[in-house]
């Protein structure tokens, strides 16, 4: 297995998109093999549903498993004694998804995130201002995706400020102090898309406050579902951040708790870009065949990070579209894409359960 550093430097020597993808495919093949050897449930699934899979064919041939499976069964490729942390994410269906990290995978998450952050945001540590409150947890505790995200980003922070008290109330005075101190310095704001919109920006509007952070960047992620329900577009989001918070550079990121660290940042053209560590494939709604660029379908995400659990290739519940392979106006190379939301809930037909929640 190559280290993240080796992957990074090798990837830089490759010139064409084709070479880069072949290299990424070989890394993913290694992971498929690793998990087949060490995770019996995964091996059974691959043998049953991907019987034609052969390593070194193409990246589209890499087997994938449905994201819902992490909520149904424990998937581990290392002995329980090697697990240093369980990452929990609560899905909309109420079941909790568990991802088990060993030391190597946990460190690789940070290394990959660092590489991606340095390329997309800033190469030096700058103050971080979090639109959330400070969650406390002990080492070894299982943590949720929201905490994991800001803990991950906090490694790029020279100092950290939390904008909320424990009751999720925005601390307006603190925000004013921060503005005085950092008005003309590089800082980054970080928060969940919906929290920024609903808690931070609403509060500023309510109080009639307009701030100015001309050199700041706002990084947000966690999904558009709630904002799509409110019919808020990415453009409107950016405009309101500019207007109220006075931050001009707004970067949305996309990623899964099941592939923590492997993020995709938006470029100036508002497209998400793949990285040397992660890739996206769009699959057909009906038969899961690979969709052409420009076609809308189900998002499959691939990442070189997961070694302690078989999550290197996941079929998500998101809908997306690949725009192209190279050629984005932003000049960044590689595959660029858009995420268009989540698959709609299906109608339930028949008599399974009842009085319950429907």
């Amino acid at each position: 297995m190559m280290t993240i550093e080796e992957i990074s430097s090798k990837s830089q020597t490759l010139i064409t998109t084709g070479e880069k993808i072949t290299f990424l495919a070989s890394l993913l093949d290694d992971l498929t093999q690793l998990h087949q050897e060490n995770c019996v449930p995964y091996r059974k699934i691959v043998e049953s549903f991907f019987c034609e899979y052969q390593p070194m064919s193409s990246i589209e041939q890499v087997p994938f498993i449905p994201i819902g499976l992490f909520k149904q069964i424990e998937l581990k490729s290392v002995p329980s004694s090697s697990i240093v942390r369980a990452l929990k994410s609560s899905g909309t269906s109420g079941n909790t998804s568990s991802v088990f990290l060993d030391k190597v995978t946990a460190i690789n998450q940070i290394k990959v995130l660092t590489e991606i952050f340095q390329q997309s945001v800033s190469s030096k540590k700058i103050p971080m201002i979090v639109a959330d409150f400070e969650h406390t947890s002990n080492p070894g505790d299982s943590i949720n995706a929201r905490v994991a995200a800001f803990k991950g980003f906090s490694i790029f922070a020279s100092e950290t400020h939390f904008l909320m008290d424990q009751n999720s109330k925005i601390l307006i005075n603190l925000l004013r102090e921060i503005q005085e101190k950092y008005e003309n310095s590089e800082v980054f704001f970080f928060g969940f898309t919906f929290v920024i919109w609903n808690d931070l920006l609403d509060k500023l509007e309510e109080e009639g406050i307009r701030l100015k952070f001309p050199k700041a960047i706002l990084i947000h992620g966690g999904g558009w579902k709630k904002l799509t329900d409110l019919a808020v577009s990415n453009e409107e989001f950016k405009d309101r951040v500019k207007d109220r918070l006075g931050v001009n550079k707004v970067l949305n990121y996309y990623g899964m708790a099941e592939q923590t660290g492997s993020l995709y940042f938006e470029c100036e053209e508002s497209y998400l870009h793949t990285t040397p560590f992660g890739y996206i494939i769009i699959r057909d709604f009906k038969d899961l065949s690979v969709s052409e660029n420009g076609e809308v379908g189900i998002v499959q995400l691939l990442s070189v990070i997961p070694r302690s659990y078989p999550g290197h290739s996941i079929l998500t519940e998101d809908i997306g579209m690949v725009i192209g392979d190279g050629g984005c106006k932003c000049q960044k190379p590689g595959r660029y894409f858009k995420i268009l939301g989540r698959l709609p809930e299906a109608e339930i037909r028949g008599c399974s359960d009842v009085y319950g929640n429907i």
Binding site: S48, F49, Q72, K286, G350, Y355, I358
Partner: protein, 403 residues
């Protein structure tokens, strides 16, 4: 007096929720009830608008005149029956019209009724209730109207508890979770209960009989099997999830013919929504991981998936979580081999090429707890006054003895 109206989501759709303790004004197989049902049936069947609701039409067809007349004939031999009084119905949230069947059974038995319909809004429920309201408003059905109160509310134990206070009888549909949930709500000590727990269903098909079918007959059978299964994503308790083949080595090709006919029917009719495709993928993976079952064919992107059943592990009814066009199958040399496989969670058996009488005899001979209902392929979803082994009009009424 019921006070649950303080709940903002509590809606009375039909009838009156006051004076719930009053006795019914209808009797067992009351002629006014029969007449009301017949009128309801013809009102729906003659209404062009009802054509867009297949389930409403099926219900109207079920309460058509001739069907009711034969029920009257069968049940009114006993003259010493009367309703219990007030019956509360908890209908499943995801089978829109289940409540209507439940209500009809209880009205025939001579009870007053409070019916909770699904909290989710279904157009066919509103369509049906609109017709019910119109007919109940006719003066001659005053006594029937007194027996019908239909309500809609979000899951709320407090409201359910208030309603159950007046109940002499309760009917709970929808499975183990709901049954246990409703059981935890106190009811008057004398309140009877009829509950429908989680059930799963199977098919028994004879390979030799199958081999004798022409291509057209085979497709007809596949269409019927499709209706029993794919139509409700196999979620219905009476939808078969496993086929037991009475095998005939020289005719074993016939099952492949059947599956390929079924796949063709599914290709032309079935829409697997993307969300359900993902769910199917997850569920298939879980089967592979947690059981010894082997896939015969059909991955997550295909409409027909087959698994070789393995009896190892949990009871059959717990293993039958498969749906969205996923079938387990198992070869039998004869029916008797089935006895150790079945458990009390198995409700309906649909059959082809096997004498139903033989299946009844098999159940009785082996004294197994499984199988309440044996119907031909194509009839799995047809509701009957006898359901889950309960003769509903009789179960929902009492006998007054005299000597």
């Amino acid at each position: 007096m019921f006070t649950g109206t303080s709940n903002a989501n509590f809606e009375i759709l039909v009838g009156d929720h006051t004076a719930l303790a009053e006795c019914p004004q209808i009797s067992y197989f009351d002629s006014k009830v029969i007449k009301f049902l017949k009128e309801l049936s013809s009102a729906i069947l003659s209404d062009e608008l009802s054509r867009s609701h297949g389930d409403v039409v099926a219900f109207a067809y079920w309460i058509r005149s001739s069907n009711l007349d034969s029920a009257v004939q069968k049940y009114t031999i006993e003259s010493n029956r009367t309703g219990y009084g007030m019956c509360m119905h908890i209908a499943p949230s995801n089978v829109p019209l289940n409540f209507a069947y439940s209500l009809v059974c209880s009205l025939l038995a001579g009870n007053r009724n409070i019916v909770r319909v699904p909290s989710r809004i279904f157009p066919q429920v509103d369509f049906l209730l609109d017709r019910v309201r119109k007919i109940l408003a006719i003066k001659e059905f005053h006594a029937v109207a007194h027996a019908v109160c239909i309500v809609r509310y979000e899951r709320n134990d407090q409201v359910t508890r208030e309603l159950l206070k007046f109940s002499d009888l309760k009917i709970v549909w929808g499975g183990d979770k709901t049954v246990n949930q409703i059981r935890s709500i106190p009811t008057p000590a004398h309140c009877k209960e009829v509950v429908f727990s989680d059930r799963k269903s199977a098919s028994i098909i004879d390979e030799k009989s199958l081999a004798g079918l022409s291509e057209i007959e085979l497709f007809n059978l596949a269409e019927k099997f499709y209706t029993d299964t794919y139509l409700f994503d196999q979620n219905a308790c009476s939808s078969p999830r496993i086929i037991f083949w009475i095998s005939s080595p020289e005719n074993s090709f016939s099952k492949e013919r059947f599956w390929s006919a079924l796949a063709t029917v599914a290709e032309s009719k079935y829409v697997l929504e993307p969300r359900n495709l993902l769910l199917k993928f997850t569920e298939l993976s879980k089967i592979i991981v947690t059981s010894d079952m082997k896939k015969i064919m059909g991955g997550p992107g295909e409409l027909l998936s087959r698994f070789k059943y393995s009896a190892k592990g949990e009871p059959l009814s717990h293993q039958l979580t498969n749906r969205f066009g996923t079938f387990f199958e198992h070869d039998l040399a004869n029916l008797d081999e089935l006895a150790p496989i079945l458990d009390s969670g198995i409700q309906t058996v649909t059959y082809f090429g096997v004498q139903p009488r033989r299946i009844v005899e098999f159940v009785i001979r082996h004294r197994i707890k499984a199988i309440d209902r044996i119907v031909p392929v194509g009839k799995a979803l047809d509701f009957d006054l006898i359901w889950d082994g309960y003769d509903l009009p009789r179960t929902l009424s009492r006998v007054v003895t005299f000597t």
